[in-house]
Symmetry: C2
Subunit: 243 residues, 2 copies
């Protein structure tokens, strides 16, 4: 059974107070960078894997997508998403993204925002996405950076007074389950190496268009903890295309 | 003036006793992985930037290269390289790799083994290499991993007894000079982010063929310290092609 943390009332309540939950894409530190990787959505069939609140589904619709499909394991997330994109040509599927399937060539764009680190096999997922895309189709995603997921707890290494010393990396080539702490709650994630992600995409037949580690925009640097985001990469953004 | 550590007699003496210096490619932990990224050398014009002892120049010649050019800043390195590849169609240039120039389309293959972290601007170097390559030409290189270069001293973080705790990452998005310790000697290196390397290659016009973080082969795992190489990525191998 795939973990469904977002339907836990306490976890969901905490998540709902994050800036990105309350204020959407503009409040996400990586959004300005991610936007530069997105394709033209006009008349496209779009799939969003791990769509959460549906911010990216709404964005695709607003930018002319012909149809959008959002997949998420959490009913609470989808309830918010349905409200947000009520009248558009959008359908939501409640399922773990590993469990859905679509006919070959069903989509022109596949998006996934900060969800693929919940998947045990990145490679299996990438192969399916390649199959679901029409030729020339785009796969654009953000994922927690392999450096961020390797150690496990996803926290800084601190001195006795609690001051940040650095970010720890360990067990890098041992892929698999990590028990991380997010919003003060235990969450199961999966560590994949950069090789598994990027060389895996190439092995599937994708070409790589962009590979970006986002930095918070200057306007956010005075927010609490944001300058520390310059001390280690937390996310990896990738734009790949099916030949 | 670019740093020339390898002409320092003490540094060079220490380097000459490393397994890879005494025994060549087979003794390099990354060689088995790097080999899978190399193109067919038959009838190719090959440039090796930071050629050192000339192991890769010799390999290219043995595999049918039409002509090989090796560039290195160190006269001591080139003296060894000249001996190793004496009779082949090879020429050596003593220069910092930032200072050489060639006519457009001069080479079919550009190699660089563990040398590009000595270059202040990866982007400038990549642009030149793109220009020097003929259409369809290959650029294959190993570079110290951005995770390995970010912190600076390139050493493990240890407890009071000297036991390894983890590998530290810090100052990731602050690119530039790092004073590392290699073979017990101070060496100036440059930290580049993964974005600068991979997205930089894409921005130049290269397509990415392979992106690999090498793991030591099973036969080496009982060598001293080699199992620790599974705890963090030390190198990044990349194969790129000029469209």
């Amino acid at each position: 059974m795939k973990e469904n943390r977002y339907d836990d009332p306490i976890f969901f309540e905490k998540y709902s107070h994050m800036p990105r939950s309350e204020h959407g894409l503009e409040a996400a530190g990586e959004w300005e960078a991610l936007q530069t990787l997105l394709p033209d959505f006009a008349h496209k069939r779009v799939l969003d894997l791990g769509c959460g609140y549906g911010w990216h589904c709404a964005y695709a619709l607003e930018h002319g997508a012909a149809a959008v499909t959002g997949v998420d394991i959490s009913e609470k997330m989808l309830a918010v998403a349905r409200k947000k994109t009520g009248t558009g040509n959008v359908s939501y599927i409640r399922a773990a993204m590993e469990d859905v399937d679509f006919p070959d060539g069903s989509f022109d764009v596949v998006l996934s925002s900060l969800a693929l680190h919940y998947v045990a096999s990145f490679t299996d997922m990438a192969r399916k996405i390649y199959r679901w895309l029409a030729p020339g189709g785009d796969f654009v995603f953000s994922i927690e950076h392999p450096i961020f997921t390797a150690y496990g707890n996803q926290d800084w290494y601190r001195d006795a007074e609690g001051n940040i010393l650095h970010f720890p990396v360990d067990n890098y080539f041992f892929e698999g389950v990590r028990e991380a702490v997010f919003l003060g709650e235990r969450v199961t994630k999966y560590h994949h190496t950069l090789t598994t992600v990027l060389d895996g995409l190439l092995a599937c037949g994708f070409t790589l268009r962009r590979v970006v580690e986002p930095q918070p925009p200057a306007r956010m640097l005075d927010m609490e903890g944001m300058r520390d985001e310059l001390r280690r990469p937390m996310m990896l953004l990738t734009a790949a295309r099916k030949a």
